[in-house]
Amino acid sequence: MMTIPEPQDNDLRNSPVMAEAEACPPPIDEMEPLEVLGVEPVLAQEEERLYVAGQWQLMWWKFRKHKMAIMGGIILIVFYVIGAFCEFVAPYDPEAYFIRYKMAPPTPVRIFDTMGKLHTPFIYHRDRSKDPETLRDIYAENPETRYPLRFFVKGEPYKLWGLFATETHLFGLAPDVEDQAVFLLGADRMGRDLFSRLCYGARLSLSIGLVGVFLSLALGIVLGGISGYYGGRVDTIIQRVIEFIRTIPTIPLWMALSAALPADWPVIKMYFGITIILSLVGWTGMARVVRGRFLSLRQDDFVLAARLCGSSEMRIILRHMVPSFLSHIIASLTLSIPGQILGETGLSYLGLGLRAPAISWGVLLQEAQNVRSLILAPWLLFGPAVCVVLTVFAYNFLGDGLRDAADPYAR
């Protein structure tokens, strides 16, 4: 067996090899940390920013790279703004009906007239007539008369959020135009403008998801946190409860609970009833995630370090453990909102959730369910359906982006 050649004496400084080496570097405690490694202590400015950036900064930078997530975020912002300002954005009152335009197809908005001249957006006069053979309504455009689209136009008076009385709408026809209407997405079987109804529907559908998820979040964090942090019997009991709730499949459970709400409740009560129902089932998912995180974090060294420093339990939880999984919570949140929105939509569609006169996308889908109207007026179905699907996708993209940004181990 070969041996490594032994130096002449114990002091390496005198060994033949070392004799040619450079003088010994100064002792460690006198050196800058980076100097010990031999790295130049001056960082490029860019790298400097990276090293001192806070957690949220880093998340934001990473998030920005995710194009789809940004797009999802933008779509959602647009939808929520429309929902918040629905009275302003919608050209017509959602219950206002135009008898002559039952089941009218969408009004084509043009910028070029028949001669090819460019104008501000306008619509042509539409006449309704009945086809003599099929007895169906036909809507023909009359190029003689043009009605320009006005923006910030005076229309039906309303109260924004029930507080501010005004008459201005985002767009519409001039107030003196009689008997014509611009139906961006067509009209329903009572002649009501679908686009306006969708705007109002956005308010309810989008907010239910948010409220429900926050309720779930609250319940889930509290119960999951207690369960994970204290462990033992409390944990076992809460876990059992969660198991029981999860045993009953979601959709039948929602259906059964919603059926319990009396049909004659006012819209507000019904709204909150549905929200509570949706969140009663949803919290279990969040609780499990939180519990899992707490269980693993409890053992982590930084918690031990905090405890050794003398921090109180509450301080440990709030200042040390929560920030470390907050980003994951946010990502999970975003990904569970679509589930709740779909839940409300589905329930309303079945007639168990919100009902007329409340307007939500689910209710609109319910009205579109009639087979005959599907064939004649498919926009009644596609309008709300596309809105829901877009929202779900936007949230999924956003959630994906948030989750990637929050993951410290992803490249």
Binding site: E243, L253, A256, A259, L352, L374, V388
Partner: protein, 329 residues
């Protein structure tokens, strides 16, 4: 292994008891009972309501008694006599009404799962081994759409398209004449003819999800050292992909079969309502609305039981298929 199974079954029993109680309570939540809503319907249409008759019906169905008595009666009926109660709306024993629907639901779910796996697993493996190729992007896009679009939307769109383009009325699992007919070979064939649309709709969402899961799982395993070992032995690439990483990646996948099945059974409700299928959903909806207590309660309970069984199967399968878990018992 056997000990593991027995223990899980043992834990299942209290769960089922609690679930049965929960189901019953939930059904009883709406104020009043079947008869009050029945009376309301009568009044709404202007018919006369005979109080005496209502009272005798109430006695007959035991609706006036306290809830725990009613529950006890119901449960003992099920466990001792196999009697799931009487449906007040249909005036028939619940058992008759439920079993056909349940069987159809389970059958439909099984077919949908088989179809979805048959498609999803090869596609997922292909996507993982040909990452970032054009087919991979296409599959990813499709599965993203499928996973995000809710089932009943797909159902609505499919119905609409079928109706407009193909002129078919695709609702329901049977043609007119077979709906109430007793089972026969002809009825079975008729059902198969109608089966493909519901299967497509139901399988679409789960296929999309399965493709993504398979792809992710296989990708995880594809870079592991044991795959490289196999390659260094000279094994053919395709063979080693299926023998090693796919085999390991499939563990969590197959083990979820019970859970997936249970999920499908419960989740089909909406799709079933849209497509007018003769499965659980529409009937349960109706029972809930009219507070047909035993029918709705039995549905809820049965679906929950299936979920519990499904979860059990999943756990057992996972233990069986992964020797690491099996050894520890």
């Amino acid at each position: 292994m056997l000990g593991y199974i027995l223990r899980r079954i043992g834990m299942m029993i209290p769960t089922l008891i609690v679930v049965s109680m929960l189901s019953f309570i939930i059904i009883q939540l709406p104020p009043g009972d079947y008869l009050t809503s029945y009376a309301a319907t009568l009044r709404a249409t202007g018919d006369a309501v005979d109080e005496a008759e209502l009272e005798s019906l109430r006695q007959r169905y035991g609706l006036g008694q306290p809830i725990y008595v009613q529950y006890y009666k119901w449960m003992s009926g099920i466990l001792l006599r196999g009697d799931w109660g009487q449906s007040m709306e249909w005036r028939k024993p619940v058992k008759e009404l439920i079993w056909e629907k349940m069987a159809l639901t389970v059958f439909l779910s099984l077919v949908a799962i088989s179809v979805s796996w048959f498609i999803a697993i090869p596609v997922g493996v292909f996507s993982a081994t040909h990452q970032y190729s054009i087919p991979d992007y296409i599959f990813s896009a499709i599965s993203f759409i499928g996973a995000g679009t809710p089932g009943f939307m797909i159902a609505l769109v499919v119905m609409l398209v079928a109706m407009r383009q193909l002129g078919l009325n695709v609702g329901g699992l049977f043609s007119e004449e077979y709906i109430l007919a007793p089972w026969s070979w002809a009825k079975f064939v008729d059902m198969l003819k109608h089966l493909w649309i519901p299967v497509i709709v139901i399988a679409f969402e789960s296929t999309a999800g399965s493709i993504r899961t398979t792809r992710a799982n296989v990708l995880d395993e594809l870079n592991k050292p044991y795959v490289e070992t196999a390659r260094a032995k000279g094994v053919k690439e395709r063979k080693l992909v299926w023998k090693y990483p796919v085999r390991v990646a499939m563990n969590p996948f197959f083990s979820t079969v019970g859970w997936t099945l249970a999920n499908l059974i419960g989740g089909q409700t909406l799709v079933a309502v849209v497509l007018g299928l003769q499965t659980n959903g529409p009937m349960m909806l109706r029972a809930l609305r009219s507070q047909d207590m035993y029918l709705a309660g039995s549905f809820l309970f049965l679906v929950s039981v299936l979920t519990v069984i499904g979860t059990l199967i999943s756990d057992v399968l996972l233990a069986w298929v992964d020797p690491r878990i099996r050894m520890e018992g």
